[in-house]
């Protein structure tokens, strides 16, 4: 049995009078792919925002590697090894593809101002390491030839892949992808499928996924959590979820 990486317990989020998320729980084990699905407006992204620290949940707790996360600000959570992408891609558009990846590696960079100003040997070695790691990931996502292009000029599918690469250079434990297949064509989706598997199996990263593409979800998920109107509906393996009458009712409506 693999170790548990992330535990979310009874997570609730209230905006004024609106209870957007109501008592959602989920666990992600190491090297596991877990998907969160549900109809539009079910509160999936809000769950993500709570886990990644952009919102402070009204109730419940988020425990990552045995540490409570739900009171930390977003940037500290990311430093613990939990990084995410965004539904509406957020790249540093006017910076080059390579620079996007260099920015992300700030935790591994030489941040001593004096060393940088004097361009010491130590600084150069560290910077070279960053560039090499960036090149490694650019090659994995097929963007090596675009390294010096401005990120905003890339095609949509390329931008999605760059966003994933930008997460990976931070050497995370858990990768959270918010609708990574949205707007991709079938071929690109298949490539994404292979990439997520590779991340999980070869690079020891767990993946928490929000996705609407059911084929992709059923194909790669180890566990699926279904949310409907902010509340948890079902949790289980893809087979269990496909047979669950509640889920079928929520997706297809009452007979």
């Amino acid at each position: 049995m693999a170790d548990t990486l992330l535990v979310v317990r009874d997570l609730s989020m209230r905006f004024g009078g609106l209870l957007a998320v109501n008592g959602v729980s989920l666990t992600v084990d190491e090297r596991q792919i877990v998907s969160v699905i549900g109809p539009n407006g079910a509160g999936k992204t809000t769950v993500f925002n709570c886990i990644s620290g952009f919102y402070t949940p009204t109730e419940g707790e988020v425990v990552f590697q045995g540490k409570a996360m739900h009171k930390l600000p977003g940037h500290k959570i990311a430093r613990e090894g939990m990084v995410r992408t965004f539904q509406n891609i957020r790249l540093f558009k006017e910076m080059t593809v390579l620079e996007n990846l260099l920015v992300a590696q700030h935790m591994h960079a030489e941040r001593n101002l004096l060393k940088g100003l004097l361009l010491t040997k130590n600084f150069r070695i560290k910077e070279q390491e960053l560039v090499e790691r960036a090149a490694f990931w650019l090659e994995r996502v097929g963007l090596l030839d675009f390294a010096n292009r401005e990120a905003g000029t890339l095609a949509y599918g390329q931008q999605r892949r760059l966003e994933i690469a930008r997460c990976m250079v931070t050497q995370p434990k858990l990768l959270m992808l918010d609708e990574p297949a949205a707007g991709l064509n079938p071929k690109e989706t298949a490539e994404l499928n292979a990439l997520i598997r590779e991340l999980c199996h070869q690079h020891q990263v767990s993946v928490l996924l929000i996705e609407h593409d059911m084929k992709l979800v059923m194909d790669i998920s180890d566990q699926i959590v279904v949310i409907n109107q902010g509340a948890p509906l079902a949790t289980g393996t893809p087979e269990e979820i496909q047979r669950n009458p509640d889920v079928i009712k929520a997706y297809l409506g009452e007979e």
Binding site: F15, T45, N49, F54, F86
Partner: protein, 307 residues
């Protein structure tokens, strides 16, 4: 005892007078912010232009030999509101609409550029020096209590009355009229309002015109009250009014009113009990303190960050 109490009351009256004009200017900031989410830096300049315009009309009509003071003042008020409204419209069309889709920084620089432009445009047009106008409305009521004097000038009463009328008309316009409803819809969700077939560009233009017209009212009132104008007055007045808008809660109309009054009284108290030189310092320090401890202001709603 009565002396200090009277002095205090006098300061409150003076503070409320100036404060209500701050509120009029603050409304322009708050309305524009509510709809397009940016600070209209050139707004203080519109106030300054409004003061010049009313001086020009008053001096012009007086030279023509007109003696009916209410008529002169009313004409001055209306003309300066209309022309200032046209300025507001043009400012939006020239400096803000072309950059509306861009990054916030770009819109801000464009706005500050517009402000600098208008200030210097007036310097060239009317000269950099102070221009003074003799008081049009003199006198007032005064009460004596144990040999101490409490003054309430007619001008102060006029400022209150005109401010209240302006605010009330604005309130009616926004809550009752079709256009006002469209304005409120626009502040909620611009994209959706547009989909419903309402021309959001027009609504934004109307917002700028109303804001500018109210700033001109403030310019007219303060111009008569102080009797002086120069091209730099918009800078400080704009900052003050912005402070008032933030204090009350930016985006909220009653907030702008409340913020203006509080700021006015705070300033007059500072000037009376501490030092006139430092009253601007106190106003800005107030701004920093609010931003520090309650950035949503007194009546503002917290913003939920869209991710």
């Amino acid at each position: 005892m009565t002396e200090s109490l009277l002095y205090f009351t006098q300061q409150v009256i003076n503070g409320l007078t100036v404060g209500s004009t701050y509120a009029l200017i603050a409304i322009g900031y708050t309305m524009v912010y509510g709809i397009i989410g940016m600070i209209n830096f050139a707004h203080g300049e519109v106030y300054m232009i409004g003061t010049y315009l009313s001086f020009i009309v008053i001096a012009g009509l007086t030279m023509l030999g007109l003696e009916n003071l209410p008529f002169i003042l009313l004409t001055a008020l209306i003309v300066s509101m209309m022309v200032a409204g046209a300025y507001g419209f043009t400012i939006e069309r020239v400096a803000y609409r072309p950059v509306r889709g861009s990054k916030r920084l770009i819109a801000l620089i464009s706005a500050i550029g517009m402000s600098i432009f208008l200030q210097n445009y007036m310097r060239l047009a009317q000269g950099p020096r102070d221009i003074a106008m003799p008081g049009q409305i003199q006198g007032g009521w005064s009460w004596t209590l144990d040999g101490n004097l409490l003054n309430l000038s007619y001008m102060q009463v006029i400022i209150f009355v005109v401010t209240v009328i302006s605010m009330w008309s604005l309130h009616l316009f926004i809550s009752r009229s079709r256009m006002g409803r469209a304005c409120r819809a626009c502040a909620q969700d611009q994209g959706m309002t547009n989909l419903l077939g309402i021309d959001t560009n027009q609504i934004i233009a109307v917002t700028f015109v109303i804001g500018a017209a109210l700033a001109a009212v403030a310019g007219f009132l303060l111009g008569l009250y102080y009797g002086v104008v120069n091209p730099m007055i918009g800078f400080i007045a704009g900052l003050k009014a912005f402070t008032a808008a933030v204090l009350g809660g930016i985006g909220s109309l009653p907030g702008a009113m409340l913020g203006g009054l509080i700021l006015g009284v705070t300033e007059s108290m500072t000037a009376a009990y501490f030092s006139t030189e430092y009253k601007d310092v106190v106003a800005f320090s107030l701004l920093v303190l609010i931003l520090l401890f309650k950035p949503t202001g007194i009546l503002g709603k917290p913003e939920v960050e869209k991710i």
